[in-house]
Structure formats: structure tokens, C-alpha cells
């Protein structure tokens, strides 16, 4: 059995060589990992890991998140995604990664909408200001165009992936890969 996992931007392909009760042998890259584990309590597993002669004890805390599992080890937090499952899921909160869409980078509240529908905007012009935990973020137009639709108003709670302002791009311009938000 094989897992294709993604941690941050790095891919890990892990092959399960064999498993029996509380023991697991895996191939990851060119290393073979022998793991003995205990499920200690909710969210908490303990691993005795042995790879190429070097072994150690690891406590890991795990939860199932919307974008994969959140795993904490030695004070560091990892978001681990299963690429196979990922493709099957409509990605949530992905919008923020697409440069030409105006969506908040985090759950937030709208504090200002400096433009109106039908208004012509220049690239980089502020089209919405949101605030989360007392930090303001200004969402700017990713390109020159006309404001086609505004989907949020002041005091609305908004979330990543939600398109707040739709802008009809001027056809004569080429798309700008960068930006979309700045704070």
C-alpha cells in the first residue's frame, strides 16, 4: 500500500511494507522506517522510530482538519495532505492562492468598501479593507478593470475562498501573476 503525502510544498511518497499489531514498516525515500506505536489517548500517538540504525521516541498530536491532518511534533505543526484524497476534494480556501480573485487571506470582518459596482479600478487600487483580530488587510485590484459585483458589505464576516469583489478585466491587458493581496 502506498501513500502520496504533501507537507507544505514537499511531497512524500510512503510505501507500507508490512504491518502487524502496533508495528509498521515503511519505505520513505531511500530509508526504511520500523515503527512501534501506541495510541495513547485522543489526538495523541507515541512512536518508537527506527531508521538505518538510528532510533528515537516521538510524541505526535494529530487532528483531522479541513485540508488534511494537522500534526504537532517537537513543537512544530505540520499540515499533512493525502494527494489522492486531495484531488477528490473541492479545495477549500484555495481562492487566496489564485492571483486574480479578491478573497480574504483569513476569516475576517469587512471594515470598508472604497469602490462601487460599475466603477473603473486600476491595478493595485484598494477595493476592500477587512480586519481580523484588530489587524487590517487591504485587498487590491489584481489588474485594471471594472467592478462587476461586490459580494460583501461593512461588518460582514467573510472567509478565505469567498470572492468579495468581482472585476471584469480589461481585455487588452495581460494577467499579472503576482499579488492579489497586500497588508
Amino acid at each position: 500500500m502506498e501513500y502520496k503525502l504533501k507537507i507544505e510544498q514537499t511531497d512524500f511518497s510512503v510505501e507500507v511494507i508490512d504491518q502487524h499489531d502496533r508495528q509498521l514498516n515503511l519505505r520513505l525515500g531511500d530509508g526504511v522506517y520500523e515503527v512501534e506505536y501506541e495510541v495513547v489517548a485522543d489526538h495523541w500517538i507515541h512512536m518508537a522510530v527506527n531508521v538505518s540504525g538510528r532510533t528515537g521516541l516521538v510524541n505526535a498530536w494529530v487532528m483531522d482538519g479541513s485540508e488534511g491532518k494537522i500534526i504537532v511534533i517537537n513543537g512544530r505543526t505540520y499540515t499533512v495532505q493525502d494527494l489522492d484524497q486531495l484531488t477528490r476534494r473541492v479545495p477549500k480556501g484555495r481562492g487566496a492562492n489564485l492571483p486574480d480573485q479578491i478573497t480574504p487571506p483569513m476569516p475576517a470582518v469587512v471594515v470598508a468598501v472604497p469602490v462601487a459596482e460599475g466603477e473603473r479600478v486600476k491595478k493595485g487600487q484598494a477595493v476592500m479593507v477587512v480586519s481580523a483580530m484588530k489587524m487590517e488587510t487591504t485587498l487590491c485590484a489584481p489588474f485594471d478593470g471594472v467592478v462587476a459585483k461586490i459580494n460583501a458589505t461593512v461588518n460582514d464576516k467573510v472567509a478565505p475562498g469567498q470572492i468579495l469583489v468581482e472585476i471584469t478585466k480589461d481585455t487588452d491587458l495581460t494577467e499579472d501573476p503576482a499579488g492579489g493581496t497586500n497588508s
Partner: protein
């Protein structure tokens, strides 16, 4: 002494104040908004009064609602905590009018010190060294531009009503100035209800060193030593410690005297903090007076063995300090790390959401002033602070070791935190050498990314949890067998 105190705040600081009230036999009353119906301060109070909608203006910033609540529950005093109305002179004045004891300085003192330009003027006259800059707020762009030219770039924009870095901006060149001023003014408006800003000369590589002061209503004023708060991100402190690695006995005496002077010059009463910038030649400049309990007050409590909230309440009740400067003896070293709900890999962007699992660090010399719990939904409307992790140890090295251990056993699942980031800051050479300047993070940890050298372990954990999960569902969790081999330490595991 009071029998009932209303705590006009939320989160960890509201809980902090309630603890002391309980120990003093004083009933504590919480106020809460819609978002805080299940907040710890609401659940742990002796009494809880509903204020209104989640946005601060409709709840924690609504002076009349809070005055009304205090009347309703018959509290004799109000503790404002920090933030919200803590440094709002109008609120303090309304309390005075209503015959409610405001646990903090008199409104006129908050008024004069709260306006940073007035404060600078008071200090200048009092002979306390100040930073070159404007002495009054300004809104006309052309005047600001002229002032900036005169000071010479880089300049620092500050909110006249400011505090906590809100409305602050460093400006490197004239082109950035207009935009920066607009944003700063807007932020100040949102945070303090006033968009007034002014400019100061921006000092390079200073340390942020502040002195805690206590002044009673009988003219007794003492300082409780310094706190170094140079490690900041977005002009907000994230690591504080005391004593300061830069401090000498002579410098402490000189700065302490200046702090007490500042307090006397302003007619200060209750607990306050005099902030200074300290340059590499041991020159110090008055920055501002925070007329409230500081977020980082616990590190002072740790080295002095003193409860500052208890002192605030005693002073507000008219009691004399009962001790002098000579009685102030510190022991050991204390460090605080602020655990914000934010993403250190993404410009410390706020990360609100539900906390699915929380495991607080414990152990000798470890204190965690925490405002959240497993299952709590961290609101988007308020400060991103989840808890303050504080350690005490016999010396700085031991305190750093203890803090690193505490951070590594602090588990928070559900929101992003700077725990891994803080661990690396504490492990870094410059920090361990005490080279802590306000540009520390920009210099040493700009665009920090979490190392992935242990990521393979997360991959293993993923698969095990997946399998165990299925096993659990099938109700097949197997009984324990014997491990076949001793296990060796993973201390500095590398792939």
C-alpha cells in the same frame, strides 16, 4: 476593601484579575459579548452580564453599557485590564462621576499621558530625555511631509491616542509617507476612536526597556525594576524578559529614578509602566507611559514574588504601599512568550478559529495565563492573544532552557501559533547572547519558514493515525504487547 469588582475586559487578562479577586474574597463580575458567551472569563466569573453584539463598539468599548452593568450588579470598582477602555480617560471619568472606583490612575492623568504629545511635553519639562519629533498631532499631509523631511528618514508614525503598536508605521522614504499615514490613521481610529497621528525620529537598533512603577494615593512611588521587550513583530512585543540583558546596577538606578520622576511629574497613582528606548551607548529616551497593567506584568511578578493586581486593588482602595524602594528585591530571571493565534510563516497573519485540542505546558517555574480551552472558538473580533507563557528560573540560561521545554510541550490544534518560531528565536545565538534589539526579528528571522527536517515523522504519524482510526472504528484497538527493543533518543533527529 471592595466586596465586588466588575472586570471590563475579556480573555486571559479578565481571568487573571478574577483570580486575585477570588483570593482576596472579592466577588468578580464578568461582562461578555455574543462571541464570548462561552469564553472562559464568562464561565468562571461569580456573575456574568451580557453587553451586546460581538464588535467591540457594541460591547467592550461601549462605555455606557459597562457603566450600566456595574450599577446593575452593585460593583464598587471596575478593573479595565489592558486594551479596550483601559486607557480611555472618558471611561475613567464616567466611573468617577458614577462613584465607581476605576482601578487605575485618575482620568486627568490618563488624559494627559494618553495623549503622547502632551506626555512628551510633560517629560521634557520634567527633565526626562525624549526622542526628537513632533509635539502635537497633525492631519495635513503637507505639514507631516515637511516635519518628516526636517526629522530626516526613517521616521516613525505614531497614534497620539496609541498603544500596543496600533497605528504605528516606520516610513523609509517620502513616497511611502501618504499611504502609511492613511493606514496608520485608519488603524488608530479603529483601535482608539481617534485617528490623530504624529511623527518621531526613528532610532536604529534600540532596545525597548520599560520600568514598572507603583504609586499610592499618599505620595509613595516605587519602581519594580525593568522589563526588556525588544523582540517585536509589527511593533508588538512577543517575547519579554527581566532583568534586561543590557542592564547594569548604575543604569537601573538612573532609569528607575527617571521612571519615578515621570510618575511624580504626571501626578501618577496606581500601577503604570514607563517605556524607554535604550540605545547601544546606554542613552535612554522616554517613549510613553502605559497607564494600565501591562500584558507582560507577570515576569515582574515572578522575579519579585508580588501580585501586581492585588497591589492595584489595594492602591485603588486607598491603602498605602506599605513598602519602600529598598524592600524591592528581585530573584532569578523570568521570560514571557506571547502565544498569539497567528501564522508566523505568513507575516504573522491572524488565525482565528476553533481550538480542537489544547494541552498546556506544566512544570516547576512554568505559568501559562491562558484565555482559551479545548473546544473554544477564538473570535475574529478581538486581540489574537491566546495565552501568555511565562517561566521563572534561577538565571537567564536556565530560564531559556525552561521556556524551550515548555514551548515544546505546548500543544494547540486548530489555530496557527508562533510556538515553533518562538522556539527557534530562543535557540538562536543572538538571543542567547542577549543581543535583543527592536530590529531583532527583521534582522534574524525575516520571512522565517519552519524547517522540514523532521517532516518525515509527521508523515509516519499521518499513516499511523489513519490506520489506528480505522482500527478504532472497527473497535479493534489491540491489547498491549511487549516492545522488542530499547528505544534511543531522537534529540536532534535528522533525515
Amino acid at each position: 476593601m471592595f466586596t465586588k469588582i466588575l472586570v471590563a475586559n475579556r480573555g486571559e487578562i479578565a481571568l487573571r484579575v478574577m483570580r486575585t479577586c477570588r483570593e482576596m474574597g472579592i466577588a468578580s463580575v464578568a461582562v461578555y459579548s455574543d462571541a464570548d458567551r462561552k469564553a472562559l472569563h464568562t464561565l468562571n466569573a461569580d456573575q456574568a452580564l451580557y453587553l451586546g453584539a460581538s464588535e467591540p463598539a457594541a460591547s467592550y468599548l461601549d462605555i455606557e453599557k459597562i457603566i450600566q452593568a456595574a450599577r446593575e450588579c452593585g460593583a464598587q470598582a471596575v478593573h479595565p485590564g489592558y486594551g479596550f477602555l483601559a486607557e480611555n480617560a472618558a471611561f475613567a471619568e464616567r466611573c468617577e462621576q458614577e462613584g465607581l472606583v476605576f482601578i487605575g490612575p485618575p482620568s486627568r492623568v490618563i488624559q494627559s499621558l494618553g495623549d503622547k504629545t502632551t506626555a512628551r511635553e510633560i517629560m521634557r519639562r520634567g527633565g526626562v530625555p525624549i526622542i526628537p519629533g513632533m509635539i502635537k498631532a497633525e492631519s495635513h499631509m503637507d505639514i507631516l511631509t515637511a516635519e518628516a523631511r526636517q526629522l530626516g528618514y526613517p521616521v516613525l508614525i505614531k497614534a497620539a491616542a496609541g498603544g500596543g503598536g496600533k497605528g504605528m508605521r516606520v516610513v523609509q522614504s517620502e513616497t511611502e509617507l501618504p499611504d502609511a499615514c492613511r493606514q496608520a490613521a485608519a488603524e488608530a481610529q479603529a483601535a482608539f476612536g481617534s485617528g490623530a497621528i504624529y511623527l518621531e525620529k526613528y532610532l536604529k537598533r534600540p532596545r525597548h526597556v520599560e520600568f514598572q512603577i507603583l504609586a499610592d494615593a499618599h505620595g509613595n512611588v516605587v519602581h519594580l525594576m525593568e522589563r526588556e521587550c525588544s523582540i517585536q513583530r509589527r511593533h508588538q512585543k512577543i517575547i519579554e524578559e527581566t532583568p534586561s540583558p543590557a542592564m547594569t546596577t548604575e543604569l537601573r538606578e538612573s532609569m528607575g529614578r527617571a521612571a519615578v520622576e515621570a510618575a511624580r511629574a504626571s501626578g501618577y497613582i496606581n500601577a503604570g509602566t514607563v517605556e524607554f528606548l535604550l540605545d547601544e551607548d546606554d542613552n535612554y529616551y522616554f517613549l510613553e507611559v502605559n497607564t494600565r497593567l501591562q500584558v507582560e506584568h507577570p515576569i515582574t511578578e515572578m522575579i519579585l514574588g508580588m501580585d501586581l493586581v492585588r497591589q492595584q486593588i489595594r492602591i485603588a482602595a486607598g491603602e498605602p504601599l506599605g513598602f519602600t524602594q529598598a524592600d524591592i528585591v528581585s530573584r532569578g530571571h523570568a521570560i514571557e512568550c506571547r502565544i498569539y493565534g497567528e501564522d508566523p510563516e505568513n507575516g504573522f497573519m491572524p488565525s482565528p478559529g476553533k481550538i480542537h485540542f489544547l494541552k498546556e505546558p506544566v512544570g516547576p517555574g512554568i505559568r501559562n495565563d491562558c484565555g482559551v480551552y479545548s473546544g473554544f472558538e477564538v473570535p475574529v473580533e478581538y486581540d489574537p492573544i491566546l495565552s501568555k507563557l511565562i517561566v521563572w528560573a534561577e538565571d537567564r540560561d536556565q530560564a531559556i532552557a525552561r521556556m524551550r521545554g515548555a514551548l515544546s510541550q505546548y500543544i494547540i490544534l486548530g489555530v496557527k501559533t508562533p510556538i515553533a518560531f518562538l522556539m527557534e528565536v530562543l535557540a538562536s545565538e543572538p538571543f542567547q547572547r542577549g543581543e535583543t534589539f527592536t530590529d531583532f526579528i527583521a534582522t534574524h528571522f525575516n520571512n522565517w519558514r519552519q524547517p522540514l527536517d523532521e517532516a518525515a515523522l509527521a508523515a509516519l504519524a499521518y499513516i499511523i493515525y489513519e490506520m489506528a482510526g480505522q482500527r478504532r472504528k472497527k473497535g479493534m484497538v489491540s491489547e498491549l504487547a511487549e516492545p522488542n527493543s530499547p528505544w534511543l533518543q531522537l534529540g536532534n533527529w535528522r533525515l
